[in-house]
């Protein structure tokens, strides 16, 4: 089985988070679970990685956080900002371009 190179995927953890938050505000564990589910368990993000992405995105003003107590438990929710939506779209475009470039060098008959 091919192992995932962390370098490539690391550049896109922010994109994954923003994709989820684009729908609705969410909290840490829910986001973690969603990523796992969406990728069909192919990618599992660690709590620490997730947290560092949150604080990075928050600092850059791409997401904001608020505390919610309605579930009877204190939870920190994150919400995407306009700035974040813009960043998400830019990352999508970047990926499409990246994919196009790398694809030029992938030959199906050589990988096995």
């Amino acid at each position: 089985m091919a192992e995932l190179s962390s370098d490539v995927i690391r550049g896109y953890t922010d994109t994954m988070i923003l994709y989820i938050l684009y729908e609705k505000p969410s909290y840490g564990y829910e986001i973690q679970k969603m990523i796992r589910m969406i990728t069909n368990e192919k990618f599992i993000i660690k709590e620490t990685t997730l947290y560092s992405a949150f604080s990075r995105l928050e600092k850059a003003g791409q997401i904001t956080s608020f505390t919610d107590m309605s579930s009877g438990k204190k939870r920190t929710y994150y919400q995407i900002s306009e700035n974040g939506k813009e960043y998400y779209r830019a990352k999508c475009e970047e990926w499409i371009l990246t994919k196009e470039i790398v694809e030029c060098f992938i030959r199906g008959d050589r990988n096995g």
Binding site: K46, T48, Y51
Partner: protein, 372 residues
């Protein structure tokens, strides 16, 4: 849950309690609590759930990375007990090796003394070794790895390698490995069972009475092996056997090519679902080749009885005997039978001879030639 909190508090106690650190701790606690609850909801016991959350929680090094700060004091760490990169000589004779690991490379080699060595051991999921002097059995273990460690940072660590040096013959070699390569080099053994889920299996210059090889995905390579009985079961991956003497050989491959090159035996059975079969310079009394989809190429084969059954694909047989001494029955549903250059349509039968060749082909041409 208390254990989790304690674990996280302990890790964070190594950092100066600044605002950012406090916030990170709160957040990570929150996520871990949710995760714990989720495990409980899935039916885990409290202890199991706690253990899982702690196991999957990052390391101190990862915390340093996300907090951008060095830890003040090294966190208490009970060093797991395992030898690191030193040859450990056994205080007794080695008779059996029993390996059950989740992620490690295993090498069994001939050496001047019975000993073992572990390198690049995984700190989170270490390989441990126990030697039972009474029975002469060496037990190599590693706890089951959680699946997603493959994809997380810790999973990217180099894979442990265990080398066992064997001086005399082994009574039993049992290896069960979920991921990692297994190699056996210049070892004599009575019975060997190699079960590898993901990784390559290679056996060379070795002798065995019975050898069972089960590889789910990964190649199997046997070279210069002498054995009474060898069974190879490979789900996806190439099987190649060369320069070997195996009295009773059976190869079963679901998807992947099978290549036998200079193999001498009595009973040889090759069964493949999807993939080519190539036999070169093979010697056997009774040989069966069964191929569902893929070409069958047999060059320089000596036999008393050879059966080839192919559903889809060409069959090419170059027999190292004469046309006169061979009984031939070739049957093709769609395609043409050619014997020694003469085309015979979809069926050919020759009813006398001391050797027997049967070919049954669904779709594809059959070509038989005789070398003598």
């Amino acid at each position: 849950m208390d254990k989790i909190r304690q674990h996280i508090e302990e890790l964070f106690s190594c950092f100066e309690q600044k605002e950012g650190v406090r916030k990170a701790k709160e957040q990570l606690l929150e996520m871990s609590e949710d995760k714990y609850q989720d495990f409980i909801d899935q039916g885990c016991s409290e202890q199991e759930a706690g253990q899982k959350v702690i196991e999957e929680f990052g390391t101190l090094e990862e915390l340093e990375e996300i907090l951008g700060e060095k830890a003040k004091k090294p966190v208490r760490k009970e060093k797991p007990v395992y030898p690191e990169e030193v040859m450990t000589e056994l205080n007794g004779e080695l008779k059996a090796v029993d390996v059950n690991v989740s992620r490690a490379n295993i090498r069994i080699v001939r050496g001047n003394e019975d000993s073992y060595e572990i390198s690049d051991n995984d700190e989170k999921n270490p390989v441990t070794v126990r030697y039972h002097q009474k029975t002469g059995k060496l037990e190599i273990r590693q706890t089951t790895n959680s699946f997603f460690r493959f994809f997380t940072k810790t999973g990217m660590n180099s894979i442990p390698t265990v080398v066992v040096q064997v001086n005399g013959p082994l009574e039993k070699l049992e290896i069960e490995n979920s991921s990692g390569d297994v190699s056996v080099d210049s070892v004599e053994m009575e019975f060997a069972n190699l079960d590898v889920s993901a990784g390559a299996v290679s056996v060379q210059y070795s002798k065995a009475n019975t050898m069972e090889i089960d590889a789910s995905c990964g190649s199997v390579r046997l070279e210069k092996v002498v054995a009474k009985e060898v069974n190879v079961d490979c789900s996806a991956g190439q099987v190649s056997i060369s320069n070997s003497m195996i009295t009773d050989l059976s190869v079963d491959s679901s998807a992947g090519n099978v290549v036998l090159d200079r193999v001498h035996g009595e009973i040889i059975e090759v069964d493949t679902s999807a993939g080519k079969v190539k036999l070169n310079d093979v010697d056997g009394k009774k040989m069966d080749v069964d191929c569902s989809a893929g070409d069958v190429q047999i060059h320089g084969v000596r036999f008393e009885e050879l059966n080839v059954d192919n559903s889809m694909g060409k069959v090419e047989i170059e027999a190292d005997c004469s046309y006169e001494e061979t009984r031939i029955m070739a049957d093709v549903s769609m395609g043409c039978v050619t014997v020694d250059g003469h085309r015979y349509g979809d069926e050919f039968a020759k009813r006398n001879g001391t050797k027997e060749l049967r070919v049954d082909c669904g779709i594809g041409d059959v070509a038989v030639t005789f070398l003598q």
